[in-house]
Amino acid sequence: MKLINKFTLWYISITLFVMLIGGTIAYYRVKKEIDEGEIERLKVLNGKTAEQIRLGVATELQTNGRPIEIVRIDSNVVSNTCEVVENSFYNPNINHKECRLTVNSYYTIDGQSYRISSYNYVTKTSQILRGLISSFLLILLLLAVLIAISARLVSNRILQPFHSALQKIHQFSLKDRKPMNLPPVRTREFNELNGFVNKMTDKMLEDYTALKEFSENASHELQTPLAIMRTKLDLLTETELSDDQAQMIGSIQEGIDKLSRINQSLILLNKLENHEFETSVHIPFCRATREAAATFSELMDMHALEFESHVEGKVHLPVHPALADILLNNLLSNAIRHNIPGGKVVLSLSRQGLTIKNTGEPPEVPTEQLFQRFKKGNQSSGSIGVGLAIVKQICDLNSYRISYVYKDSWHIMDIRFP
């Protein structure tokens, strides 16, 4: 839900609440005022009538045609008291319920007690209520509409620094190595936000640079001693060696080879995680696939594997060319390595995705786990166990969906392009 809608809803519900209470108060006040006014009038009328009785004016004249009832009563009453009776009844003439307000006043004039009653019809409670509700509803509607409209107009203005900050954050890439530099704004909250984002991104840039430097240095520091070992061994192989020594050197060479590959793969993974391969250039993925297929078909032949490839033309994807190669190489080498004698590899590429499937023994660990680093299905294989982790990382980076299933003795690696 948009912030502005939330605000609007809150305002409207507060207004509704206030109006409910206000309506109740208004209802009682209005009713009270009306009744009091009427009672006061009737009281005065009764008083005047009593005055006239005292002066001895004829009763007909006294009432003057007004609905005044004068009753002589025998019992003693406290003079100058009055009671108010309010009663509703059904008036069949107008087919309506009516509310009558009667004021009975008691007087003692010349030793004779009188009750003087006058009445009038007043506005009914339900009528007041109806009038109030309808007018309040109208006000509420007006308010809601005005709030909704003005909030929208105003919010664009007020939230403008927020939106521009959001856009900048969206465009921010560590790889650019450019600090965010959000400008100070007048709204305090947004100012705080901008300051915080600025500080955070500066820290991120710093950390990123440090990390990159570290990984580069680590690579350099490891590669150089490896290079020394490898070259010295190269030189050593040219000296007179016994078979035993030769074999030992061979094993060392293999070890160095593996070490160097692990190192390079880890560096590659690091770079992938640091998003150093971001690109928006579309490359012909179909061509890369065809080239990989051509390279690997030779290797398939050597392993006596049947290789089938269906590559659709004009598949262009925004991926770094080096990554496309690594992706294809890793998947195809896996398809060869984990195959069975006389097995088969099927490669198919379409605009929707890439599928590589191969025959093979059932996996020993759940297939999803094989995407983790150094997780190997077969511990004895020559693999160093980061091939699939790299593939996964490349897929994540380019938001491809990858799945690996084993079904009917086929290992199926399926990548869906976005």
Partner: protein
Amino acid sequence: MKVLIIEDNEELASSIQRFLTREGYICELSSTCQEAREKLVLYDYDCIVLDIMLPDGNGLQLLKFIRESRIQSSILISSARNALDDKIEGLEGGADDYITKPFHLAEMHARLRAIYRRKKLNGDQLISFNEISLDTDKMETQVNGSVLELTRKEYDLLLYFMVNKNRVLSRQSIANHLWGDYTDSLDNFDFVYQHLKNLRKKIAAAGGTDYIDTVYGLGYKFNTAKK
């Protein structure tokens, strides 16, 4: 051939020097940018092996200096950083090739020869030994004067051996040469063996001598002493 090795690691530099000296090249070493600059101004070199990270500067700056001073040497960049941007920057900056540490000496030698051949316009494209000759321009192989049909990989393999005659080439080095860095340990040695078998067969069929020896536990060797 005269080679300048610009490399700050003494051990590595001495390995390269030893290897290349055995090929009959004249090798000189520089461990800093400053020293290299002085040597480059004073002497001519056919090839330069240039490390990117040097104690007193970046190899890429040195590369710029070399190109700006119109020094005609072929340049092979050797770097521990296989950062792609470095590679692109290096090649765009006028380097002829790029090799990532840790490399095999034979591989480095092959690349050095290749860029040297490319630079020389006076037709030194022919590499030959006895009855076998390779034309690197046309990528053609002849044995006893008749053309031998080789696959690309077989040709690359033979060229690698011919450049590194009498050297023990490890299977790793050969696999690396043929398939590059990203083969994530396919069972490469089988492939090397297969290619080699086919190559030997073809040379033998054309009446050539099988100069390639198997070195127990280590790899293979192009033995020129073989009759």
